[in-house]
Symmetry: C2
Subunit: 249 residues, 2 copies
DNA sequence: GCAAAAGTGTTCGTTTTACACCCATGT
DNA sequence: ACATGGGTGTAAAACGAACACTTTTGC
């Protein structure tokens, strides 16, 4: 059985040269209903979709979300959604907030708990989830029409990500296993929406001792090849606890 | 009607010379049920209390909480609870998180949204809420037995408060209208659990220009009387936006 | 040889830290 | 006159901001 009044919505962030992006979908209602374990849940979901045609409309896009099953832990359910959407386990996933305005969903009362996830672009080419009619990355400043208050949830996710990234080393989850110093700088610039000074940025990074030389360089680039780095899990774990300061005035 | 699967719980913080405290209560079930607007809600609440005798037990203490009415905004409902508990409106109130472990409440599935509030000790002597059998401030390291996962919620509230206080001027909500510099330093020391250097602390504070002279001194103290200050609402509003740095290494 | 991005140091002003003594008041 | 906490300045070290040129590579 499904808790009618509580849902979870996941904002999935990815990063590449074009900037910070969000993964959105349009749901295949029939596939979703087939995937449910019991009749009662299917009936409930059918009702939800009948009440909210926008969820399956062709103009509206949606976060990855769903109503929480009675027998599923909230955080675990957010992981389930993420796995359905991306096929990935072990993704960085963090709760944003509960969203509980009275009329955030028309005609019914649903409180949703938002999460955001950071996806490593090594896994950028998702196998299409079979629950999604379509699935697409959108640039943050070219978002399509979104259902309900999903734009609010995305904005709030971005705010949380910004706060998090300034004081904790989580930004690295958006990078591939090996990356260049320029890539990480541009990641911070995109997230915080601020140009930074390369020399000062690198000095700061160096002082943290978070990076180790990957022992490779870029290949076939029409300029001096950049060194690849990876991040040091031990130092990462320490900084995650202690915090760091990437605050820019 | 009440949403059976969603509740709100408020952690109410206060501060005085004995340190940081939390307001807890033991509920008067009969008074609570009498206070509800409709029969259906009363019946639901009765059932909840029958299932969870710990809620009215004499050994267990509880946060101020309740199930969210279907027709009440989540944040507004948290304010309602706070008003019931303290008689105060316009209190600093902030969402912590949604807590959604499977077995956080025995025998039923309830997801709770935690909030924390900061109470100015000018209002420390609360008129007893008529819904509470008893109501008491507890020192954070002398907490009584708590129902469900309320200890977890309190710990998480404290973590959030610590984070907030380092980068935003919210600590002042825990102080009376006029306060001394020593009081605010001891507030920060208690919240962050760290001794600070008085001269450096005051320099930092001075640079923010957040305080204005209240024009009074302590009376009848057996030592040099400290000056009272109040905080400057305009500067407060600006710093709330911009952030500040009270981080201590 | 040129276009394109990588990589690197120094200077200057500001901030942080560490630290110790005199002041005002009530008893 | 003494006990109690209030209030203050300075020097050294660390940090942050601003800034420009050389290197490597592919075409």
């Amino acid at each position: 059985m499904i808790l009618n009044s509580v849902s979870v919505d996941c904002v999935i962030f990815g990063f590449d040269k074009s900037g910070l992006r969000v993964l959105l979908n349009q749901i295949d209602k029939e596939a979703l209903i087939r995937s449910l374990p019991d009749q009662a849940s299917s009936d409930q979901i059918k009702q939800i979709y009948e009440r909210h045609p926008v969820l399956t409309g062709d103009n509206y896009w949606s976060l990855f979300g769903g109503h929480v099953p009675e027998e599923r832990d909230l955080d675990e359910f957010a992981k389930d959604l993420l796995f359905q959407a991306t096929g990935l386990n072990d993704v960085f996933l963090q709760q944003i907030n509960a969203f509980g305005s009275l009329h955030r969903v028309p005609y019914t009362r649903v409180i949703t708990v938002g999460y955001y996830a950071l996806i490593n672009p090594d896994y950028y080419d998702l196998k299409q989830s079979n629950l999604a009619k379509s699935l697409q990355w959108f640039n943050l400043n070219e978002l399509p029409l979104l259902c309900f208050d999903h734009d609010l949830i995305i904005r709030k996710a971005l705010t949380k990500l910004r706060q998090e990234v300034m004081y904790h080393p989580v930004g690295f989850h958006l990078l591939p296993e090996k990356f260049t110093l320029t890539e990480i700088q541009s990641l911070y610039e995109v997230i915080l929406n601020k140009k930074m000074d390369t020399r000062n940025f690198r000095k700061k990074l160096a002082k943290m001792e978070l990076l180790i030389d990957y022992g490779e360089k870029q290949q076939n680039v029409a300029h001096r090849a950049a060194k690849y780095y990876q991040f040091d899990i031990q130092v990462y774990e320490r900084l995650k606890m202690e915090g760091l300061n990437f605050r820019i005035e």
